[in-house]
Amino acid sequence: MSVVRFQDCEVELRPDETVLSGLERAGRKIPNSCRAGVCQSCLLQAVEGEPPAQSQRGLKPALALQGYFLACQCKPQGDLAVALPSSVIPSYSTKVLERECAADDVVVLRLSVPSEFACRPGQYVHLEIDGLVRSYSVASLPERDGHIELHVRRVPGGRVSNWLHDAAEVGTECILRGPLGSCFYVPDEAREFPILLAGTSTGLAPLIGVARDALAQGHRGPLTLLHGARERAGLYFAEELRKLADTYDNFHYLQLAHEDGEAGNIEAALKQHFRKHEAGKTRVFLCGAPDLVKRMKTQVFLLGAASSNIHSDPFVMAPPAIAA
């Protein structure tokens, strides 16, 4: 019989019993709704052991790869240790290796890779500074590049971002937790599907991470990166992205500045993209201001992208410090 461990309890499952029913029998409350493998509200993560394939049906591949499964569909063969999503966030200590002012309001930090730390570019990490925690997306391939690259935009009144801009120097140590999120590249056999990456400002970080990862893994399909900003000056990393486009024939980079009017309209550019590439096969990654991400999500869905192929990471801002 399989034994399931969850927090401080151990349950021996009865024949044909699911992880959800077993944990409920043990008095544990697990969020759930349809109990039919459809609504995905009973999502758990296996921290030890392999969840059966049946319990990962319908999950985005990025979640399945991280051991997520549906408790209501899970009748494990062996023992499992499980946790609620996001309750398993390991913590590491890291230090600044390099800092680069990429634009007036953007600093790019390259942090040391703690041993045991592994993540996929496009996932995000928490940085903890003086008890304050902020999330930043990983733009590099830590294993290959030897650093964790984060893009930090200066938020007016933002305590962490201003500290990272003004006080963090090479050698400064901080606490990093993660990785989190499922916004990353998952290859298939042919690696030919179109990839659309669209975002504004430092929403570029996870997008460039996904692009670097896909190209490093030999993706052959077209990758299009749309980078938007209010002003042209905010379109940082342009040189680096043009270089990437020169190196890889299948990588296309478009700059969209709001000050350019219609030529800089990101929604028009999305429409244009789907005239060239089959929407139903395209995997879409969206990142940036929550309102824009929400609008783009609906737009690409209506243009024919499958909901299961749309990945997004809206940036949610912490409330600003109250001025003394």
């Binding site: 709704s33 349809c34 039919a36 459809v38 609906t298 869905f301 499958a306 909901s307 299961s308």
Partner: protein
Amino acid sequence: MSTLFETLGGSAAIDAAVDIFYRKMLADDRVAHFFDDTDMDRQIAKQKAFLTMAFGGPNNYTGKDLREGHRHLVARGLNDTHVDVVIEHLGATLRELGVGEDQIAQVAAIANSVRDDVLDR
């Protein structure tokens, strides 16, 4: 007797149907505004649960859930005409997937059976 849910292929059928159905809803001005403030991923999950129920599949929907879940929309003017639109798009979705008219009528009947719960009356 097997349910339409099983006949259509279980949760794989739901996955195929949900995008077609939700795209029709979002593209329809009569109902699209009800989804203005919703998160798409969460909405897709809800639509899947709804379709599972409408296809006669296993579900835990209760009249109470449906009442509470839609009360804020009733306050914003949700009425019979909108339920009719849902049933219309449900039928069109199934037609696109090659489902016969008999079974479409069954699905419409299930959806209709929760009308009073959804409209909180």
